[in-house]
């Protein structure tokens, strides 16, 4: 490998050169990011073709879905012509792509509203929930994994891994229902569904309710929105938590055996720092990969969780669209989710380099 960090290794480094060099690194990272974003284009073209084909292969007719079962064939035909559904598929596809290139995600067949406008609140709902779920998963998953690696082959280790096993094998809908039954129904501690108490008449700005309530300084709304999030976030975060715990454990175990961890101990470093500084940072790359993948999955919308907790998120939105044969919504919705997925993976790749100085981007 070509040394990227030329300054130090030539032995001629000075402060001025270091600054130049840091700017260079910035440029390289920027170039890499741009290249990765350009690579998004073929991905999106592929995605659009696949979703378009699948969507149109779904049996059923949007015109019928709009008009209902009792509509006359003439009325159905009129709607089909109006929506362009009587055109050959490839023409429909090119019309759709033409719209996309102009930044137009299309309109919902059912509500007649622009999708870009309509999907926003759902996306915000999903993101807010996914972030909290991921936060829970990361915090508990990593600490559980670290604990069981630190006390390898002890009762603590076995207990932690049994918890992880239960977590990964428990069906989300079952966990969600149990949570509702125990914490909402029986104990009455937390609300069982929705994003916020409708009686508050909360007017969202960004549709991230926690953020909005803070902007407004409405702490009562903040508290209420947060309480609404706890149960679905726990249900949603359980499987990622278990996966992260297992990945953390195996990655930590591997690193703990390495020479530099022994060196750290030989320096007199405390056990806490040995684990959380020297071992964890080295064990972090595979854990980070899992973060990215799980976050991507959560952003796709957790249909089951959203259904159980009546959470207005993209999962719900897309399922409704599929039921209504709302072609443009399905296509654009999936395209947006795919884009987010790719972006998250890009962020994860960039973070690799931040975690491990041996990983460098931008070299041809």
């Amino acid at each position: 490998m070509l040394p990227l960090f030329q300054i130090g290794s030539t032995g001629q480094g000075s402060i001025g050169e270091t600054a130049v060099f840091q700017r260079k690194v910035g440029e390289i990272v920027f170039a890499y990011t741009v290249r990765r974003l350009l690579m998004l284009i073929p991905v999106l073209i592929g995605m659009s073709i696949i979703t378009f084909s699948i969507v149109h292969a779904i049996p059923g007719d949007p015109a019928r879905a709009i008009l209902g079962d009792k509509a006359t064939p003439e009325a159905v035909e009129k709607i089909r012509t109006h929506l362009g559904l009587d055109q050959p598929l490839y023409i429909q596809y090119f019309e759709y792509v033409k719209g996309l290139l102009q930044g137009d995600l299309g309109e919902s067949l059912i509500t007649q509203r622009p999708i870009a406008e309509e999907i926003g609140p759902y996306l915000a709902g999903t993101m807010e929930l996914a972030l909290l779920a991921m936060g829970i998963a990361i915090f508990f998953g990593m600490n559980l994994g670290i604990l069981s690696a630190w006390r390898h082959n002890s009762a603590v280790d076995y207990t932690a891994m049994v918890i992880a096993l239960i977590g990964v094998s428990m069906p989300v809908f079952w966990l969600g229902l149990m949570e509702q039954w125990v914490f909402a129904q029986e104990l009455g501690w937390l609300p069982s569904n929705g994003r916020i108490d409708p009686r508050l008449g909360f007017e969202p700005i960004t549709h991230f309710y926690l953020l909005d309530s803070l902007i407004k300084g409405d702490f009562y709304a903040f508290n209420d929105a947060f309480n609404h999030m706890i149960l679905p976030a726990v249900a949603l975060g359980t499987i990622p938590m278990a996966i992260i715990a297992r990945m953390t454990r195996s990655s930590m175990l591997e690193v703990m055996r390495s020479d530099y961890v022994r060196t750290a101990r030989a320096k007199g470093v405390s056990e806490f720092l040995v684990i959380y500084k020297h071992t964890l940072k080295n064990a972090f790359i595979p854990i980070l990969t899992v973060f990215g993948l799980q976050m991507g999955l959560l952003l796709g919308g957790a249909v089951l969780t959203e259904t159980i907790f009546s959470w207005p998120g993209v999962g719900q939105y897309l399922v409704d669209a599929i039921n209504n044969r709302d072609y443009p919504v399905i296509q654009s919705g999936i395209l947006i989710i795919a884009t987010l997925f790719v972006l998250i993976n890009l962020i994860v790749d960039l973070l690799y380099a931040a975690v491990d100085p041996r990983i460098q981007y931008g070299k041809e």
């Binding site: 040394p3 960090f5 300054i7 130090g8 290794s9 032995g11 001629q12 480094g13 000075s14 270091t18 390495s258 020479d259 530099y260 022994r262 060196t263 750290a264 101990r265 030989a266 320096k267 007199g268 470093v269 405390s270 056990e271 720092l273 500084k277 020297h278 940072k281 080295n282 975690v355 491990d356 100085p357 041996r358």
Partner: protein, 339 residues
């Protein structure tokens, strides 16, 4: 005479595994005086590394367990220390460098970060002063280029990394430096540089060095005194000159014979027959008996103690007992015919 710095007496470190107890270190007596360089020699699996890790308190317990004896550093028994107390000893009073410089530094932190951490663990100084001290210590080990503190280990060669390891170990001026095969992974010219460096640091700072190695060449060049270990026990101990001129224990003799000599032409290099005994099933009597050319009946029956010969030379071999008796007769009775 220098004060005794490190004293292991009858020290035993056993490992309790599913398949039985491994007596990795079984009743070892070692002393290191202040400012002295002592070599601990033996083949792989003889317990020399476990001995050194025990002095650092780095043997994982369990499965390891101290089964007896003591490790005294300046009179304080290290085997009784609590975890917090260990943290003040490690890197401060005793420091250690390892065999693999390529993997002994943490790849994801800068050298400055790792050195400053070692310093501030034991000294109450601010970051800037610590960086200055790190820079000075690196200069002492021959690394003086600018910006070194902001570099990562992968940007350095193996020899350079071992220098950094030595600097990191020496930065708090420990009284004892344990070097576990510090040159094994390096090529020969770099080996010589590292050994020179260690000898210079020993002279300048009066830090005692316990050198763990299987390389008798290194020992000959560096050490004042040499301890030979076999199967968890000390089998011979004497000063360097005497060990090479007049080895007593058959194992030591075998080790020395297996070094290639420039002035002797041999078809095949000598090697000690057989293998190191299985640590779970030590042979009865002398542990070296299955491989020994001079084995007597008593060797199979009774474990030999360490016999003291002249000038602090000790050897764990029944042959020495006989020689000693003969020698005693010679001096007291004057009856033996002169040869």
């Amino acid at each position: 005479m220098a004060e005794t710095l490190l004293e292991l007496s009858r020290f035993k470190m056993h490992f309790h595994t599913d398949k039985g107890v491994v007596k990795a270190v079984d009743g070892v007596d070692i002393t290191v005086d202040e400012g002295e360089i002592v070599g601990l020699v033996g083949e792989s699996g003889c317990g020399k590394s476990v001995t050194s890790l025990s002095v650092m308190g780095l043997v994982p317990q369990p499965p390891g367990k101290v089964e007896g004896g003591s490790i005294k550093l300046s009179g304080r028994d290290l085997t009784r220390l609590k975890r917090k107390e260990w943290q003040r000893v490690r890197g401060n009073e005793v420091a250690m460098i390892f065999q693999e410089p390529m993997t002994s530094l943490n790849p994801v932190f800068t050298l400055g970060n790792q050195m400053v951490e070692a310093i501030r663990q034991h000294k109450e100084i601010n970051k800037k002063e610590a960086r200055q001290l790190a820079r000075e210590t690196l200069q002492e080990v021959g690394i003086s280029r600018d910006g070194i503190l902001d570099e990562y280990p992968h940007q350095l060669s193996g020899g350079m990394r071992q220098r950094v390891m030595i600097a990191m170990a020496m930065v708090c001026r420990p009284k004892l430096l344990i070097a576990d095969e510090p040159t094994t992974a390096l090529d020969v010219t770099i080996q010589a540089q590292i050994l020179d460096l260690m000898r210079r640091l020993n002279r300048e700072t009066n830090t005692a060095i316990l050198m763990i190695t299987h390389d008798l060449g290194v020992v000959a060049e560096m050490c004042d005194r040499i301890i030979v270990m076999y199967a968890g026990q000390v089998v011979e101990e004497t000063d360097a000159r005497r060990l090479f001129r007049n080895p007593q224990h058959p194992y030591t003799i075998g080790l020395l014979k297996s070094i290639p000599q420039l002035d002797r032409r041999l078809e095949r290099l000598y090697s000690i027959p057989g293998n190191v005994p299985n640590p779970r099933q030590m042979p009865s009597g002398c542990r070296f008996v299955p491989r020994c050319e001079h084995a007597l009946d008593i060797c199979r029956e009774k474990e030999p103690p360490l016999f003291s010969l002249e000038d602090g030379h000790t050897s764990r071999c029944w042959l020495n007992a006989e020689e000693k008796e003969e020698a005693d007769r010679d001096t007291t009775g004057n009856t033996a015919p002169s040869s």
